[in-house]
Point group: C2
Chain length 211, copies 2
């Protein structure tokens, strides 16, 4: 592996495991067993590394969110789509866990994070419009706006909530639970089909976490 | 005001406005225009100040949460109850905004924050049980558990979401909007009374923010 790639990969692991705010470029050089000068040759400080990591995250999130246009119709498709989205967030979890500090320290990333949140919002809106269009859900426009906020909140703060509650769930289990939580929010708008859909989701969830 | 009280009040303002992670005890002494030695005479470092601030927050939250037992029945009562809870969180907002860093740095506070979250969860559960008992809502037990998670998430991460979205809403407006968001989650479980309750909530919200 090239040194540049090794730096990025190691920085991501270090920030995910130890948190970004307390780690310096010198700490990172020590973990990599290279000199601070060599690190500086590749990246002019921690900011530059954070920026490239965020660019990578952004590119991958855009690809996933773009892939939601069109043919997501079955419960299984939607489940997989949200699972992939959350897995991507998990891979770059320090951005979400240390969000307050990162937004304050890196104004450029704050703006781009905001842009990404808007795209997530649009993807959720598109999904609800699709479900309404097929008459699978019936929802008042005001409540639809609130439902988008709820789903967006779940998909953004699931890692923070897990950090507070300290559940020690394995990552795949935590992700499946969050997919279930996000998807189950539409059930009260499904009318008579709601109870059956809830049973299907519970069944899907139980099979997913017992694998 | 006694020096000790002045230190606590100034620390709270400083942490709320500038974030806790980047502020040192020396920064705080400078803002207070006292010597670091004088600060140290009252508090043995920043940790000791954070601990007392958290104790104050905890005591006030417990009082508010305890006050929810019993006679909260009308829409207006519930609105005021959640408003007071969120106003209290707003007064100590740095605990919520810098949560990831604080939980990692202060393990003792992490445990107590977790305890407080459990009490919030119990207060929400009691509210839903009360509404079910009076047959104002009809909800499956699995969905009831998820609804508690959603309301808890809204009441915990509203400040973080606002920080990302950078809405610039005045605090009272932001708090009323969050109360509306939290309360509106029960509407789909109100059956035929849902639409009228939504209208009443919207009306209440609009009057509250136009004051």
């Amino acid at each position: 592996m090239k040194t540049r790639d090794r730096i990025l990969r190691t920085a991501l692991t270090l920030f995910n495991e130890e948190g970004e705010p307390d780690q310096t470029a010198v700490d990172l050089a020590n973990v990599l067993e290279i000199s601070p000068g060599n690190l500086y040759y590749h990246f002019k400080g921690k900011d530059a590394i954070i920026n490239v990591l965020f660019e990578n995250f952004e590119t991958e999130m855009r690809m996933i969110l773009g892939g939601s246009d069109g043919a997501i119709s079955t419960l299984e498709d939607q489940w997989v789509f949200i699972y992939i989205l959350l897995e991507e967030i998990y891979d770059f979890r320090f951005f979400y866990r240390d969000l307050g500090v990162l937004l304050a320290r890196y104004p450029d990333i704050a703006g781009r994070f905001r842009g990404l949140l808007k795209e997530k919002r649009r993807a959720i809106e598109a999904l609800l419009t699709h479900l309404s269009g097929r008459e699978l859900i019936h929802i008042d426009p005001v409540l639809s706006g609130l439902l988008v906020d709820q789903i967006l909140g779940t998909l953004t703060f699931w890692l923070s909530l897990d950090q507070i509650e300290d559940t020690d769930l394995p990552p795949a289990h935590l992700i499946h639970r969050t997919v279930f939580q996000a998807m189950a929010t539409i059930i009260p708008y499904m009318g008579a089909d709601g109870p059956e859909m809830l049973d299907r989701m519970l069944d899907h969830y139980e099979r997913a976490v017992s694998d």
